[in-house]
């Protein structure tokens, strides 16, 4: 494909990623969050595929498939089970209200653009230009992690953070060596599985998956 098309596709995917991130920050229903997360995974997969096609590397195409399977299908499914087991569609109450969260997210986006200057300096072309999106996703993820009380939404936040990192990785350097990539994906999967199991246990122990109950260990 030619550069302009590539550029458009990359920016489209980046836009989708960013959009889904904002929506996750916005929405308070868990099911919606998971849905948008899946969308985000898909967008990421597409992005990888685009880059792979542009660089004409079969390896990246394969990775794209992997990403699609993992981030767009498998992990959301796991999360859905975690949600479905209990309070489907429940509206959680974050630490900061939605307005504040959205303002914060926009601020974080700006910050992301500021801080990723040296990162862009490294690479060149449209891919490098989209790097701030990845950083922004990372920061969104952290924001969700630090402000959502529900266990599942913490999972969502973690995965968004991971997506952000992956985005940066693919945009800036076409991913890391395959073996590392595999290891990373496996690790992420395992962590999510563990967290899902723990979520179940928390439900049985504490009645709900509300993290405010988890403050008995203190000094």
């Amino acid at each position: 494909m030619n550069d302009s098309l590539f550029a458009q596709l990359v920016s489209l995917c980046a836009g989708l990623l960013l959009l889904s991130g904002v929506l996750i920050v916005w929405r308070r229903s868990l099911t919606a969050q998971v849905r948008f997360l899946a969308l985000q995974g898909a967008a990421l997969a597409v992005l990888v595929a685009v880059i792979g096609d542009y660089q004409t590397s079969a390896e990246l195409i394969g990775v794209a498939a992997l990403v699609l399977a993992l981030k767009a299908v498998l992990l959301p499914a796991v999360l859905n089970r975690a949600v479905a087991r209990g309070d489907a569609g429940q509206l959680e109450t974050p630490v900061i209200n939605t307005t504040a969260a959205l303002i914060a997210s926009s601020l974080l986006t700006m910050l992301a653009y500021v801080v990723s200057r040296p990162l862009q300096a490294a690479g060149s072309g449209p891919a490098a230009k989209a790097v701030p999106v990845g950083i922004a996703l990372l920061l969104y993820g952290f924001l969700v992690l630090a402000t959502r009380r529900h266990a599942v939404s913490q999972l969502v936040g973690f995965l968004m953070l991971d997506n952000g990192i992956a985005t940066v990785a693919f945009l800036i350097s076409g991913g890391v060596p395959l073996v590392v990539e595999l290891g990373v994906s496996l690790d992420v999967l395992l962590v999510v599985l563990i967290l899902q199991v723990l979520t179940g246990r928390i439900r049985t122990e504490f009645g709900a998956a509300d993290l405010d109950d988890l403050s008995e260990l203190r000094d």
């Binding site: 500021v114 801080v115 920061l139 952290f142 988890l214 000094d219």
Partner: protein, 666 residues
């Protein structure tokens, strides 16, 4: 292998032997075997010290390290040998004393092993030739002594807090010394004392290092205001341990100061001297004041240690000050006086602590107000303690008097009209020394008179009996040291002169002192002969009179008619010190509490009057308690950092991430 190196190896192997002995020998014989071995460690230390003193840099041992330090070497010089000698003698005597003294926890395997290790560490601190080995021995000393202070933790409640204070203050001292040496090492490009010696005493680094080191060593020596551990730890520890701590370990602080001002950074600026003098003067006066009003015998002795170390600091400071002003002769005398104070204090303080231990062993009492009349029941202890008290009160003919005399000589010959500063400082120092001497006199008259004279104030004191042989032997040994060194101080002086390479001092005919530099001489033997000459006729008369009419015991003292005098009517230590504590009310701030209950019929008639007085350490109450309280409150507040909410924890990480991102990219 030179004699010194051999001596050090001997000490180490003997220590290992002692530890094995105390672990393996069954309790029945443990005290005897372990005690003799530990004493052997002390003797080996004394011999090694003497060799080092005689031969200067005679031998060295390198300790293999797994870290790339500069060579870590034990190589005592003359000064170190001097202190090693003192420590060794003290240790040997104390160990022999312990044979008869230990019982219960203090006779345990741990206690004996710790004693051996403690002795070894104390003897090897002055052997260190570089910062690392010095700190190593220093911390070994701290660890072992802490264990020993904790010995009787199960028997008495106050031991725990005493050990805690001791450990914390010791760590403070260690950290300051570590920092000081580190500064010197950075400036001198090496941790060896030789490398540190290349630092220019006038430089900033030297100044910083000096302040740190001086304060660190002061802490270990129980100098005011960092003395708070001392009056707690000494009563808490078993008496033979208190003896070693007070007579040998505390001296290592003095050694450290001398190491800095004589060996590492000679010729420092005058204000170093002023700092030392100020510390010393305050400690001397404050210490002896507290001692003079204390009624716990070992607490009293502890505070008196603070006083004596204060005098040593004062002497060392005088030396520095005078050298800075080029008054080298008096400076030398001051240095010698410092070393004389070290020796004499070692001698009489050992005697006193062992005596106190003997009393404790016989009566189970440390409180003077419950003692009395022991002179008749435990003559040896009484005699030894009396000699020790004479020494502590700096009366002739004891080594204490000689040391104080030398100090005064250096002071009164120090000043020259043209040096305004010196001619202001010297008189003040003389006054301080004089006041200290006077109060010391009072303190030890009280200690001896109340404990050993008159009639017993408690049942325990009434049934006391003198101590077992080993204790009596070591008591006599220590006491005779006090007298002999007082009679022929020439020995001490020539040793001190050798240790500091001085010329202005020397012995005269029968072991007297000749401070040729300041045209002063002292010959206790002559004085004694003279005293004997004038005593002779008096004794003759006494003898003839006694033959004619021997003294007749009557049953009781005069009770002001009618009232029969009961022991409870005697003056106690508290009442003895009452006038003084009134005079110095502002300094001591005793908490007095008089409770008067009137008769129900009339408020003019008193049924009962209750008087109670508590004397806490002013410095501790005013300076330390607030800080500790503050720290505690901070600790409580800081708990909120870790309040258990994972969201907050994630927030910490988030903020850290944002900060780092901003910092590294902007």
């Amino acid at each position: 292998m030179s004699g010194v190196a051999g001596g050090i190896y001997t000490q180490v192997s003997l220590t290992v032997l002692a530890v094995l002995a105390s672990v393996l020998v069954p309790p029945a014989h443990r005290a005897r075997v372990a005690g003799m071995t530990v004493a052997a460690v002390g003797v080996a230390g004394a011999v090694t010290g003497a060799l080092a003193l005689a031969g200067g840099h005679a031998g060295s041992i390198e300790i293999p390290m797994s870290l790339p330090f500069d060579p870590v070497v034990l190589a005592p010089d003359a000064l170190g040998g001097f202190f090693m000698l003192v420590a060794g003698c003290v240790g040997a005597v104390a160990a022999v004393f312990a044979i008869g003294y230990v019982h219960g926890p203090s006779a345990s395997r741990t206690a004996w092993s710790a004693l051996a290790a403690f002795l070894l560490a104390v003897q090897l601190v002055p052997a260190a030739a570089d910062a690392v080995s010095f700190l190593l021995m220093w911390e070994l000393m701290a660890l072992a002594s802490t264990v020993l202070v904790l010995t009787e933790h199960a028997a008495r409640v106050e031991v725990r807090s005493a050990a805690l204070w001791y450990a914390a203050m010791t760590q403070l001292s260690f950290l300051m010394i570590l920092a000081g040496f580190a500064v010197l090492a950075a400036a001198g490009h090496g941790t060896g004392f030789a490398a540190m010696g290349t630092v220019d005493p006038g430089s900033t680094a030297a100044a910083v290092a000096f302040v740190l080191l001086a304060l660190g060593f002061a802490t270990k020596s129980g100098i005011v205001p960092v003395h708070v551990w001392l009056p707690r730890a000494h009563p808490a520890a078993p008496s033979h341990v208190s003896a070693v701590m007070s007579a040998a370990m505390v001296k290592m602080g003095v050694y450290g100061v001398l190491l800095v001002v004589v060996r590492l950074l000679p010729g420092g600026p005058y204000w170093w001297g002023l700092l030392l003098i100020a510390l010393g003067a305050v400690s001397a006066v404050y210490g002896i004041l507290q001692a003079s009003v204390a009624s716990d015998l070992k607490r009293l002795l502890g505070y008196s240690t603070t006083e004596n170390v204060g005098l040593m600091f004062l002497a060392a400071g005088t030396a520095v000050l005078l050298r800075a002003y080029g008054i080298s002769v008096s400076a030398e005398v001051a240095l010698v006086a410092c070393l004389l104070l070290v020796v004499s204090h070692a001698a009489f303080k050992t005697t006193l602590f062992l005596g106190a231990g003997s009393v404790l062993h016989a009566t189970g009492e440390r409180d003077l107000d419950r003692l009395g009349g022991l002179g008749a029941r435990m003559p040896t202890t009484a005699a030894a303690f009396g000699v020790g008290a004479l020494g502590a009160a700096a009366l002739p003919v004891t080594c204490g008097f000689v040391a104080e005399w030398a100090l005064l000589q250096s002071l009164i010959h120090g000043a020259r009209p043209q040096d305004r500063l010196v001619s202001v400082v010297m008189p003040v120092s003389v006054a301080v020394v004089a006041l200290t001497a006077g109060l010391a006199l009072m303190t030890f008259v009280k200690a001896y008179g109340i404990a050993f004279l008159a009639r017993p104030r408690s049942a325990e004191a009434a049934v006391a009996a003198d101590s077992p042989t080993s204790m009596r032997v070591s008591l006599v040994a220590a006491a005779s040291a006090v007298v002999v060194l007082g009679l022929i101080p020439g020995v001490m002086v020539s040793a001190a002169a050798r240790a500091t390479e001085l010329r202005g001092v020397g012995p005269v005919w029968v072991g007297g002192i000749d401070l040729s530099g300041v045209a002063a001489r002292l010959d206790p033997v002559g004085l004694t002969v003279m005293a004997a000459l004038v005593t002779l006729p008096v004794l003759l008369i006494v003898w003839r009179l006694a033959r004619r009419r021997p003294r007749r015991p009557v049953d009781l003292a005069w009770g002001c008619g009618g009232v029969r005098v009961s022991p409870r009517m005697q003056y106690t230590a508290t009442s003895f010190a009452e006038p003084l504590s009134r005079v110095f009310d502002d300094a001591l701030r005793p908490a007095r509490d008089v409770e008067v209950t009137h008769l129900s019929e009339s408020r003019y008639l008193v049924e009962r009057v209750q008087f109670s007085q508590r004397l806490d350490d002013v410095v501790e109450v005013r300076a330390y308690r607030p800080v500790i309280g503050l720290a505690d409150r901070f600790g409580v507040f800081a708990r909120r950092l870790q309040n258990g909410s994972i969201l907050r924890y994630l927030g910490y990480s988030f903020v850290a991430l944002l900060l780092v991102l901003v910092v590294v990219t902007l």
